[in-house]
């Protein structure tokens, strides 16, 4: 693949390219969830997918993860067809998917034990990863004892455990408050810069997408499809309040608004057939008589 040609200095040290080639997907026959989507994410690139709900952002992520198989087209990792889930493509889910019956440390060690890493190395690796996400002090805690932000940090540590080539993040901060979200965005950028992993990040928050992405992919609905891609020319590490972010946000938001209005119009078409304004008085019932 062309992963060497046009990527910046952090090229493919630990990342792999991820490609959707003419992918269509349907949850039920006849209703396309994704129509003919093509996207090439370079090795070591951070791409954000934004779009209104129903645009198939999360579905694309599941396709990349190998949790879903496309109806048409192909999903490729470094040019090799994806045939199912693999530890080389780790997923961070929207809600904390940490296992409640395991301590934070055991959660991070879990994928390592699946791939046959010995006890000692597991422990060392878990300690290191928890330090990376600033949770070393909470290694012995259980998920329900942690805040939402800490749980998502733990989920990121677990996703990084098997040293994946591609990190797939499915609205990971959607349930967090604004401050926590901003801090974690900074941490994701740091991890990205430090590891050189390929990251595909799904969000419905345009600001978040611009803050994080090398490119932002705008998605449309009915059927879910890729509308266009915007390259974000802001050097890293980025300041959360960088002036240039606003311009990109405005541009992308206009695109999303157009999509949302399209949906509203389509839905309204049905609704407007119903009564049009005012109070309806039915003479048969004499409503309004003698007032």
């Amino acid at each position: 693949m062309s992963s060497i040609t046009n990527t910046p200095a952090r090229t493919g040290r630990a990342g792999a390219s991820a490609t959707l080639a003419g992918v269509s997907f349907a949850f039920e026959a006849g209703r396309m969830a994704i129509a003919d989507a093509s996207l090439h994410v370079e090795a070591g690139e951070l791409v954000c997918l934004v779009g209104p709900s129903g645009s198939g952002k999360s579905t694309i992520l599941s396709l990349l993860a190998g949790l879903l198989a496309p109806v048409r087209g192909q999903v490729l990792e470094d040019g090799v067809p994806v045939r199912g889930p693999s530890p080389s493509r780790a997923v961070v889910f929207q809600e904390a998917a940490l296992f409640p019956w395991l301590s934070l440390r055991a959660n991070v060690e879990y994928p390592l034990s699946l791939s046959g890493v010995g006890r000692r190395e597991r422990a060392a690796r878990a300690t290191e990863l928890l330090r990376t996400v600033h949770l070393a002090r909470f290694a012995a805690s259980y998920p329900h004892e942690l805040s939402g932000g800490m749980r998502q940090r733990g989920a990121i540590a677990r996703a990084l455990a098997t040293d994946p080539k591609v990190l797939l993040m499915d609205e990971p901060f959607a349930a967090l408050d604004a401050q926590t979200r901003e801090i974690l965005q900074g941490e994701v950028e740091q991890i990205f810069l430090a590891t050189g992993k390929t990251i595909v990040f799904v969000t419905h928050n345009v600001r978040e997408a611009v803050r994080l992405g090398d490119r932002v992919v705008l998605m449309g609905t009915r059927p879910g499809r890729i509308l266009r891609t915007v390259a974000i020319a802001i050097e890293r590490p980025r300041a959360p309040n960088d002036e240039r972010v606003h311009a990109y946000v405005a541009e992308l938001s206009a695109g999303i608004r157009a999509e949302v209005e399209k949906i509203a119009r389509e839905e309204a078409d049905d609704a407007w057939v119903a009564p049009r304004g005012g109070v309806r008085v039915d003479p048969a019932f004499g409503v309004g008589d003698g007032i």
């Binding site: 997923v91 889910f93 409640p100 098997t162």
Partner: protein
């Protein structure tokens, strides 16, 4: 108090006083009939319940995870679990004679089905998110079952095991009442034969104490541990 007053007013040997029951209890303990019966019943309960627990959890996991097993055995399991297990005693006696095996069939059947049904529903309620997360990390097959499904379903499995225990005890008592081979159930029958309601009530008191003690010993701590660990004791 109410009991003491009522029984002294009634003044009939068929309506024993608390003191009379206590006396009968002590007498039965002294002559060794109660300890012997208790030992027999506890041993049967232990064997039968252990078999039912192992079989019930295994069956429940299979029902919850395999469409094939669910289609083949699901309706049968639901149907059979509506049958009081004591109904199997006649058949069991025909097959196994007046043996331990015959009474164990009743105990195992009584406990196994509720455990299987509870395990199945616990497995079905495991959040799909955890399963998907495990799959992305490379878990599949038996590893997924033991590493994720079973621990995720454990609170429900423990509840089923507890339910199964009370079913096992009930089935055993019913079986022993009808089946002459020692045990607490038979001691109840002896009380009836001797026209000794105080003895009958003394045995009932023993059964209540036995059930309660074993339940506390086996499940109290386990339930608390699971609730704390899984975070289900919090809102």
């Amino acid at each position: 108090m109410a009991w003491a007053t009522a029984s002294s007013l009634a003044a009939t040997p068929l309506w024993p006083t608390p003191a009379g029951v206590a006396e009968a209890l002590v007498a039965a303990l002294r002559d060794g009939s109660l300890p012997r019966a208790l030992g027999t019943s506890v041993l049967r309960l232990a064997v039968g319940y252990a078999l039912a627990l192992a079989g019930g959890v295994a069956l429940g996991l299979a029902l919850g995870r395999s469409v094939l097993v669910k289609d083949l055995a699901g309706p049968l399991v639901l149907g059979l679990s509506a049958v009081p297990s004591i109904c199997w005693l006649p058949l069991s006696i025909l097959w196994f004679g007046l043996s331990e095996a015959a009474i164990q069939v009743v105990v195992v059947l009584g406990a196994l089905l509720p455990i299987a049904v509870a395990t199945e529903s616990a497995v079905r309620q495991v959040p799909p998110l955890w399963v998907r997360a495990a799959r992305t990390m490379g878990a599949s097959g038996l590893g997924l079952l033991y590493g994720v499904i079973v621990p995720a379903a454990l609170p429900g499995i423990v509840a089923g095991a507890k339910l199964g225990f009370t079913f096992a005890l009930r089935s055993l008592m019913a079986g022993e009442l009808l089946f002459v081979s020692g045990g607490l159930g038979q001691l109840l029958e002896t009380g009836r034969d001797l026209g000794d309601p105080a003895l009958v009530l003394a045995v009932v008191v023993t059964i209540v104490a036995l059930g309660r003690m074993l339940e506390l010993a086996l499940f109290r701590r386990l339930e608390r541990l699971v609730a704390r660990r899984w975070g289900t004791d919090r809102p």
